[in-house]
Amino acid sequence: MIDKRVASVAEALVGVADGATVLVGGFGAVGQPNALIEGLIEQGATDLTIVANNAGTGRVGLARLMELGRVRKIICSFPRSAGSVVFEELFRAGRLELEIVPQGTLAERLRAAGAGVPAFFTPTGVGTLLAAGKEERTIQGRRCILEQALHGDVALVEAWRADRWGNLVYRSSGRNFNPVMATAATLTVAQTQHLAELGELDPDAIVTPGIFVNRVVHIPYGDPAS
């Protein structure tokens, strides 16, 4: 029997290696796989590249992971936001590499990794600092730059409901980067608020088919922080 459910966060994160690229879902506090991020702090892997929309806030979660010196590089669209104190400190001290990617290009590069598109052209970013070093070509009269697929070794996502095949659904704006990242990593781990029996999720409404998910851990933590 296929059963992707695991009993603990520790089990869910077995095998995450030093030097891994880790995709972290969530937008703001909504849909963030908090328990898995805490678990990653415990688990010990270091020299990580983190791909996320933000670079952490406060001194918990991603910020804590960074503060512990476990993050070599962050790839994100919006590093500096209210409360991104740890990022600011480390970045100013030259202890953190940063790759800024327009949010849509970030989403599309992740989607490309999941969909077997190694590279694609886009008009986003043409003529800006973020186009530096990128191949440019005019297609159908429009200037474009070439962007590369962005793979993860690991993706950490949060779902609203999940079943033993790893099918996932999300809750309203908790969807955000989660389904895209789930497709883009070698090992995709989902924490879910609720478990469902196989067949309980409407096949017309499943957002992430289980093929993209390797492990599911049940974390009924309740509502995201405001």
Binding site: V30, A107, E108, G127, S172, V180, D223
Partner: protein, 217 residues
Amino acid sequence: MTQTPAPLSRPQMAARLARDIPQGWYVNLGIGIPTMVADHMAPDREVIFHSENGLLGMGPAPAADAIDPWLINAGKQHVTLLPGGSYFHQADSFAIIRGGHLDLCVLGAFEVAQNGDVANWATSANDSAPAVGGAMDLSAGARNLWVLMEHTTKDGQPKLVTTCSYPLTALGVVSRVYTNLAVIDVTPRGFVLVEKIDGLSLESLAARTGAPIHLPA
């Protein structure tokens, strides 16, 4: 000596822009003053708001006792979803933006140049960790890009300029600028005045603008 007429307040700026959005348009509002535009739409005009984090049909802020903690917008504020609204993931959300499906994006900006270039994401080329978010995608992807901003900086420097001095967000994309002093089209001729606030002379406006302002042909 003539008195300087009162510039529009931020809500007035948002209301002025809102008047120009036609029924049925799909609109993304940037963080800051642009967010206020939603509050000033005529109630009989149906306009559908999009948010980058995966919402279409975004409604107003909820009452304090009716907050859904799972429902935020790209500015991380709690919002609501109207009947007919839908959720989708980040790649699908940006497919809407980048695929040219939005009728309009309204952004704030540091500078707009007379050729339609816009700078709104980094305060200098030495800012090594600016937050770009979806600004470049929205600027490159929306069918119409309108900028809503103060006419000048706090210390009186023009934000409508010949050439942007800040790092660019996108090239040649702004079609219209709404400020606290005027509404200005960006055309192949450069800036063209659509309207200015009552009592403000063209000379006074020109003095606050970093590039020529033409009158409509």
